[in-house]
Symmetry: C2
Amino acid sequence: MAIGIQITLNERLFLRDPQRTELGKKIIKHSILLIDEIGFEAFTFKKLAKRMSSTEASVYRYFENKHMLLLYLVSWFWEWVAYLIDIHTMNISNPVHKLKIIISTLVFASKENPSIEYVNESVLHRIIIAEGSKAYHTKAVDDENQEGLFLNYKTLVNKVAQVVLDIQPEFPYPRALASNLFEMSNNHIYFAIHLPRLTDVHVQDDSYDEVEKMLEFFASKMLGIQTSK
Amino acid sequence: MAIGIQITLNERLFLRDPQRTELGKKIIKHSILLIDEIGFEAFTFKKLAKRMSSTEASVYRYFENKHMLLLYLVSWFWEWVAYLIDIHTMNISNPVHKLKIIISTLVFASKENPSIEYVNESVLHRIIIAEGSKAYHTKAVDDENQEGLFLNYKTLVNKVAQVVLDIQPEFPYPRALASNLFEMSNNHIYFAIHLPRLTDVHVQDDSYDEVEKMLEFFASKMLGIQTSK
DNA sequence: GCCCCATAATAGTATTACTATCTTGTGACT
DNA sequence: AGTCACAAGATAGTAATACTATTATGGGGC
């Protein structure tokens, strides 16, 4: 099942392509686990190297710094979600149905059958939820954007915006609706777990059903479509 | 005009109340300016002290670390927005009208007549937009939440959620709608400036009219109310 | 005139965020 | 079989960060 999936990322995200070597894959694998455990602020290349039984200097040969590594993980995640959306909506022509599938793909990204052994998609999803926004809340955002480091996310948002326009060609804020669905999904999962008074949904274990229902509700209200049973 | 405004904040946010001393006020004032200039990651107490012609050790007597200082600034900002909303909606009984005022207060928070000399509200608004979400995206979020460090924001969100319920008592997601309005406001101002493909609105200089219009559109769609001219 | 206490001045530590250099081991090519 | 290339390991070193501790100074109140 892992065959055929290729996640292609901007080459400027890394110094040496981590997908091409064993050490590279180990860096991806363990950085996901370690960031999830101790948080991005406390995460350092030294700790990562120790955990992997490698050295700091070796990690630095793959990524310029931990910010670039985060950017890499975030890009990887969105590229993966885009891939999932593509295969799930491939044969769907009804855009309303398509949007519904997009929402559930997004919310349940972590539950998909893992496709690549060195990436724990479920843990990566948690990282995106907790740390994802730090990838673009930086002083370097404009330079990095110019280098195309956010292309994956922007492409995905625009893909969804196109579906919105297919549903309602005159809708005035297709991209804002699309990006808001993505941001809301992450935010409200996070709120439900850590700041429950900021939301109305609940999550238990890793069941995000209520989040999905809420996003469907919001989307259908925005686009004036019937909520299907 | 500065008379009578008192911003009261959780005492656990600081070690010594910065509002009570000259040095404290200088810390608030210059930290706002410096974080805006160099970004939160590059910001250090040493640089702040140098800028203020004080010492690192003195700053540490007021705030445990830079994260607590950010939390303080964020709380200050939301408390201030809550205050503005209160005075602007004081005599309004129609909840639809109230919500509209809330949206414009939120979007134009930075344009309000400055009330406290040591806080540049316009610059502070920029910080909230660019760095605000880092205040709660931390491993310590649960502990800090338990200590009440996010109360200001949660209270504000719930105040707006109550207005939503006044408009539509059966609305299933009042808090999510409220928090989403706040998050969207900040996000889309940021997107418009740095990642324009993630939104449909534009901002020029500090004119956020399009953001206001969009939030009104979203809110009225969600609540099924007429968009007023 | 003395006490209190905030601030300044200074120093010191562990960790972070790197950069540099040198060695070793493997695989590929001749 | 020999050497070449090159990735990774080992080691060291530097400047900055994130603090903590100690002592000195100076002004306001009693």
